[in-house]
Symmetry: C2
Subunit: 413 residues, 2 copies
């Protein structure tokens, strides 16, 4: 097989851990596989480099900041290649420009456009493990770019796609993706298999483990991703294409995004262009609007509610004040008093089960948790609730959907 293995910052956090990673890579190689390894910077290193660059420039979206921070992965790649050779194996490191990881020019958040896998294939032919610096690429002009926090995941899956690898292993400091945050639900179970679409919807559960862009890449190029622990041999979570027997699992997991603010604008004229005029200034300011609900129109006017990250609340109100005064003639809009959270129940099996939403609303009602907004998709039901009640809601729903049990033992909805 051809296997890509990606190791995060804590996995390569010091010399001893790098030695441990070298052993794992070598074990895979010695089992008869071709191995490409993608590495992050040693934990803390990217922050150290960013701190220095901040002495001269606050904005990270800068060609020279990328020159500086990309050295973290370069050092790890060289060290891991040395460590593998020190253990009797053979290895060669590759930087972004050496495997032509071509990206756009959006420094600090560049997107991969193409990769030249030939140097890696030549490396395999020489019987060597290829060690690739994650997180970095170069744009068409030859400037170094970086892919944003967690970007090494994307490098890993993109390299796997370019090589046509059998799968990509994402090694991290947890054992996989869980049905809920184990800090809130101690008996949350590890998800054995999950499809790309569900994983994208469970973003908040996986965000610390797996960069979303990597999941998109896996989905687009059909690369199975195995999220597992560097420090154990246990199977982790496979993120892969939906399969028939996956359908049996109605609900895969429960995720929450905290620290959101809800803004409601009343009496918006129910006319073409109103939504555009409202949200255009927010979009231009780079503010991400999450859930949007438009109520049934009454007397040609409607109410609109949406959520933004709490940090963007004041700026949103500011930007909206002018356009709202124009639109409503009064500028009468209300922000939510208390911070809210978005709670999502996700599962590809929902497509063929109508009872999930009903059960969810009943469980929340029994727990006396008020639902402020509702939004649904084919494989997800999201509700906005008071942030103070989100842990209670997760615990109640996790129990109600039997998520502490192995998938086959869960009761039907």
């Amino acid at each position: 097989m051809l296997i890509v293995q990606k190791f995060g910052g804590t996995s390569v956090g010091d010399i001893e851990r790098i030695r441990h990673v070298a052993k794992r890579c070598l074990a895979t190689k010695n089992a008869g596989h071709d191995v490409a390894v993608v590495v992050s910077a040693m934990s803390g290193e990217t922050n150290r480099l960013l701190e220095m660059s901040r002495e001269f420039r606050e904005d990270q979206n800068d060609r020279e900041v990328d020159v500086i921070v990309s050295t973290g992965e370069q050092v790890t790649a060289g060290l891991l290649a040395l460590a593998i050779r020190d253990l009797g194996g053979d290895a060669k490191s590759f930087l972004g420009h050496q495997v032509k990881i071509l990206t756009d020019s959006s420094h600090a958040r560049a997107r991969i456009q193409s990769i030249d896998a030939e140097p890696l294939k030549a490396c395999f032919k020489e019987g060597k493990i290829a060690v690739i610096a994650g997180f970095q690429g170069q744009d068409a002009s030859g400037s170094i770019t970086t892919l944003g926090r967690g970007g090494s995941d994307t490098t890993g899956v993109a390299i796997a796609a370019a090589l046509g690898a059998d799968h990509c292993e994402i090694y991290t400091d947890v054992e996989g993706i869980y049905t809920a945050d184990p800090r809130i639900v101690p008996d949350a179970s590890k998800i054995a298999r999950i499809c790309y679409e569900e994983m994208l919807d469970l973003a908040s559960l996986g965000a610390k483990v797996l960069q979303l862009r990597a999941v998109e890449f896996g989905m687009n190029y059909n690369v199975p991703i195995h999220v597992r622990s560097t420090f154990s041999e246990a199977e982790g979570t496979w993120v892969m294409p939906a399969e028939d027997d996956m359908e049996e699992v109605v609900v895969s997991g429960i995720a929450a995004v905290r620290d959101e603010a809800k803004i409601t604008i009343r009496d918006v004229p129910d006319s073409p262009g109103a939504a555009y005029r409202l949200f255009e200034p927010l979009s231009e300011a780079g503010i991400c609007v999450d859930m949007i609900i438009q109520s049934q129109s009454r007397d040609g006017r409607t109410d609109m509610s949406f959520t933004v990250a709490s940090g963007d609340h004041n700026r949103s109100i500011e930007l909206l004040s002018t356009v709202c005064a124009d639109l409503t003639g009064a500028g009468e809009f209300l922000a939510s008093e208390a911070p809210v959270a978005k709670l999502s129940v996700v599962g590809v099996g929902m497509r063929s089960h109508s009872g999930v939403a009903g059960k969810m609303f009943r469980v929340l009602s029994e727990a006396e948790i008020n639902i402020e907004m509702i939004s649904t998709s084919e494989i997800k039901i999201s509700v906005i609730i008071a942030e103070g009640r989100v842990d209670d809601a997760i615990v109640a729903l996790h129990k109600a959907f039997d998520l502490h049990l192995p998938a086959p033992e869960r009761s039907s909805i």
Copy 2:
């Protein structure tokens, strides 16, 4: 003018010093010149990176060690470009591969073969200062190489040669090259101008200030090198082609190489191939033989003396024992008892003055310092003396040749 400025590790040792360097670069640019800046790693950084790589590999002559250590200069280049922009200027960083600094594949001590100056010229056209990471290049296969300790000096002079720059300024933490080591001779004077050939012979005076390979590059491409302090505006030392009025200075400086060992082999057959058979094993072991003296042959046999670094003494004796037994039939050779030093008086003006050697020997004799070996070239007289007397010898010679006085005021020999 087009000026190349090179700043060493102490000059860019922390954020404040990088800011100071940025000011100097910008001042040169604002005076109407095109400026290319070559930077070293922040002081201590190369050692930190080498220490990590030594955990897995002792030998520095390695592709992956170069991947690791080259990041030091990369970080400085990015930071200096940011610092220049922070002060209102404009700048762009370049790594070895981005200006195609092509070298051979001798990792840790690669030699520059060519440079593509076009990206730098384009940078000047945009009105920007070009900041180049020193010390690094790439070989024909695209692997990163480094040029050895002090290699950023060579990058500086090579970039100046490739650009056809007016001169190359080497900024360091001393004010220039002195007639003798100021720690030994407190009234040593700063040399205003010195020719490349003298500078090469004064290696031990300049070694901490200027890499020899950089002097060779300057000589081959006629690049005037201005060695000066980062922390003062004073003129430093110009290393440049010999000029007519330089001839007036008979002796430019006095240098010493300590910690040498003298080895004498007696009764070597005075036949073709003897020297080759003696020195070949040393050369193969990478041991650098310095001064070699062969005495007048007597009865078909001769004595040979030479010096090596003290650290190579035991290994040399070991390597020589077999070949000496064969050659002399007895293996009777003697190492010097006490460590020796090589003391050199250098000056391009010696070519037309016969009295320098005589005066040197008289001064040493008056100080009761025994001369063990003598070697001369057109512009240098070197003697081997006991290491314990080297400071006395330097002080006496410095005084005798009036080196504490400005060049025009010195008495003739």
